[in-house]
């Protein structure tokens, strides 16, 4: 009877208090397509499926595959492209490189990939010099202990190392190459009907997979994110990045990463070896096309001019900057470091010039029931901070940690409760960094004197204050 029902349900004075965490996430309703039919027994069921076999997706699959608590679990990695063989690294450097932070190196070594990277090639750098084209202001990042600040590694080298480590756990991790997921079917959060509780994935060739947890690592145009109807805040910058492999005029220790903020955008020189560096030049779309079209000599001249020319200085700014610098040196004698001069470029590798458009993006949610987003699928940043792939590796370290703990507790891997822990931890970390990067990009895109002065003084002050620099 309804009275008995009401009694059993309990008429509390306050409405039933569901825990706070579930209030912060309104319970998702069923998504189209609705209730899946009972799955055919032939559809293989995986514990985790990672969609996207780039650096972040492959590293996620490898990290889980090497986790002791995942020893008996089934993992699948879906990659649209073909399997690439990396046995033999070409002599010339690839033009796509990443700046790998020590934290990322730690993650990669946790499942044995960093050793492979070291045995191939990488360039550690000890120092970062960042300065303004419109003033003398600069900031130098350096570690007091003689540790490396970071490493410049070609993306192909990282992929080679990851592929090797995936091969090593092939009994646990199944990699599907040339495989694209074309559709996802989401389960209802708490199923009381006869429908399957798992995520169903439809592949381009008609095969279907099921999984207890789907991890979307499919880049900034993530299909997983779209299909899960997770809102994405995004913004296209009016910029493209030009990349190229450069040869220096003379051999040098080359253990400094250089970045100069031009009004059109930052230009960076990342060391690859004693004689070679990688270029990442963010500039307007038109200028980027020009740079790609011009002959090699003019291209090299443009680069050298960008690093050395002072035409953007104004007397006013220079004087103001100099005054501020003297003021600081009175207060903190060691607060102004010696400015080093960037190397000059002699040659560019033919065929190594390329460009790609830049944008910013952030998913409003990183997780849902049985779904998690990592890497560019969750967040996309401007390369000026050299953080892009490091944020992705940070996501992996955090998610792998929570999934490992969940596996050791016998928890359902796709349960929203522990996925939310990952989301909270990473959003807290990522949002401020993404916002700061975006702000920096906007701040440095202007010649207007007040803003130049602000950032000049800001940069100088930051340079003089060790605690702030260490945080960065």
């Amino acid at each position: 009877s309804s009275a008995a029902m009401a009694a059993a349900r309990g008429r509390a004075l306050l409405p039933q208090l569901t825990p706070l965490w579930s209030w912060m996430r309104p319970r998702p309703g069923p998504r189209a397509p609705l209730c899946a039919t009972a799955a055919a027994p032939s559809q293989p069921l995986y514990d985790v499926v990672v969609s996207g076999g780039g650096m972040v997706g492959s590293a996620m699959a490898a990290a889980l595959g090497h986790d002791i608590h995942f020893h008996d679990k089934k993992i699948a990695l879906l990659e649209a492209g073909p399997r690439k063989e990396y046995d033999h690294m070409p002599d010339s450097y690839s033009n796509r490189v990443s700046s790998i932070s020590p934290g990322s190196a730690t993650l990669l070594s946790s499942f044995g990939a960093w050793d492979h990277v070291c045995s191939l090639r990488l360039k550690p750098f000890r120092r970062m010099q960042v300065w303004d084209a419109c003033s003398e202001a600069m900031i130098i990042f350096e570690k007091d202990d003689l540790d490396d600040m970071g490493y410049i590694v070609e993306n192909d080298v990282i992929m080679s190392a990851l592929t090797k480590q995936l091969d090593a756990v092939a009994d646990r991790v199944e990699v599907f190459y040339k495989t694209r997921a074309v559709g996802y079917t989401w389960p209802l959060p708490s199923h009381s009907c006869d429908t399957t509780p798992w995520v169903q994935i439809e592949l381009a060739d008609g095969r279907r997979l099921q999984t207890k947890l789907l991890i979307g690592a499919d880049g900034h145009k993530s299909v997983v994110r779209k299909e899960a109807e997770i809102k994405n805040i995004e913004h296209q910058y009016d910029q493209s990045a030009v990349v190229a492999t450069l040869h220096l005029s003379e051999a040098t220790d080359n253990n400094v990463a250089w970045q100069r903020f031009l009004p059109t955008g930052p230009i960076a020189l990342l060391p690859l070896s004693d004689t070679a560096s990688s270029l990442v030049w963010s500039t307007s779309h038109e200028h980027a096309s020009e740079l790609l079209a011009m002959d090699e000599e003019s291209f090299v001249d443009s680069i050298n001019s960008a690093f050395w020319s002072n035409i953007n200085h104004s007397d006013f700014i220079d004087t103001a900057g100099a005054m501020f610098r003297s003021a600081i040196s009175l207060l903190k004698p060691s607060g102004t470091a010696v400015r080093q001069l960037p190397p000059s470029v002699a040659k560019v590798d033919p065929e190594s010039r390329a460009m790609f458009p830049l944008g910013m993006g952030h998913a409003t949610e990183y997780v849902q029931h049985r779904v998690a987003l990592i890497g560019d699928a969750a967040h996309r940043v401007h390369p000026l901070a050299g953080q892009g792939v490091n944020l992705g590796f940070g996501d992996i370290a955090c998610l792998a940690h929570h999934l490992s703990a969940a596996a050791f507790n016998g928890t359902d891997l796709g349960s929203l409760k522990h996925l939310l822990k990952f989301e909270t931890e990473r959003q807290r970390h990522n949002v401020s960094l993404i916002a700061a990067t975006d702000l920096l990009k906007r701040l440095y895109s202007t010649r207007l004197a007040p803003l130049v002065l602000l950032r000049t003084w800001g940069l100088q002050a930051t340079n003089a204050l060790p605690p702030v620099k260490v945080r960065i």
Partner: protein
């Protein structure tokens, strides 16, 4: 007035040797389909897994010498008494154990069976039966390595019979894990008044303070039925975050680990280690 032994409790209509209380059954009947809604009526039981599963797992790991990578409870036979919808059976099975879940309510078993059916690993490792503890004693003498009776003894009619049956189906030196609510003034105020009547953390009428089990009574009952109590820990529920934690005081919820004495009489050198030994082993188990 409270009598120390509830054997003489005033229940004129219950069969004196059954641990199943028909009044209790009715309360759970209406919620038989709600087990697996993590944010619903059973949300507190879902989050209790975050502390009770590691407690069971680590205690058993510290007592054994083998560790199977990825399956810490591999080879362990567990009886989950009053399994409900299988909330505790499933994580234990995921850790490698073979679990038998029993519950007197058929609808609960039906829900549990249906939920495990989608996962082939669970479907193989868990068997559910609609039954009371007494009914399986005869066919399961000294069968199980571990019994878990979590949030059950406060609903049981005859605790002495219950304890005796546990002893009968447990192998010598097997482990018994119990979590329940203490019978104190505090548990009345927080466990009944606040939890049920004010905040609705637990559906009203779920618990009767009269049937809460004082810790001392449970310990006495266990010790006098061939068990040795090894560990007692207090538990605390934070309704704001919906999470459980351990605490010093046992005046609200508590967990007990007891070990059935070995086949040959008084404890000998081969008996299960004492509590301090277990804690030392737990500390080193993580680094093994």
């Amino acid at each position: 007035q409270l009598s120390l032994f509830r054997l003489t409790a005033n229940r004129p209509f219950s069969t004196s040797h059954s641990s199943v209380d028909s009044e209790e059954i009715k309360k759970f009947q209406l919620l038989a389909h709600k087990w697996w809604d993590e944010e619903g009526e059973y949300s507190a039981l879902h989050s209790m897994n975050d502390i009770r599963v590691p407690f069971i797992r680590d205690t058993l790991l510290s007592m054994s010498h083998n560790y199977h990578l990825g399956n810490p409870l591999s080879g362990v036979k567990i009886l989950d008494v009053g399994c409900g919808g299988g909330l505790l059976s499933e994580p234990l099975a995921r850790l490698g154990a073979s679990v038998t879940g029993i519950d007197p309510l058929e609808d609960n078993i039906r829900t549990a069976d249906q939920h495990k059916s989608f996962d082939p690993v669970l479907a193989k490792r868990i068997q559910y039966k609609s039954s009371s503890l007494e009914e399986i004693v005869e066919e399961s003498m000294e069968t199980f390595d571990v019994i878990v009776a979590s949030e059950v003894v406060e609903h049981v009619a005859d605790l002495e019979t219950f304890t005796k049956c546990c002893s009968q189906v447990l192998k010598p030196e097997g482990s018994l894990f119990i979590t329940t609510i203490n019978k104190t003034q505090l548990s009345y105020v927080l466990g009944i008044v606040v939890a049920e009547k004010i905040m609705g953390i637990v559906p009203e009428g779920t618990h009767e303070w009269e049937k809460f089990v004082p810790l001392e009574e449970l310990e006495h009952l266990l010790e006098s039925n061939g068990f040795s109590v090894k560990t007692v820990k207090g538990m605390l529920y934070n309704p704001l975050w919906g999470s459980w934690s351990w605490m010093e005081s046992t005046s609200l919820n508590y967990a007990v680990h007891a070990v059935k004495s070995g086949a040959q009489g008084p404890p000998g050198p081969t008996d299960a280690p004492s509590e301090t030994d277990i804690q030392q082993h737990s500390a080193t188990a993580g680094t093994a």
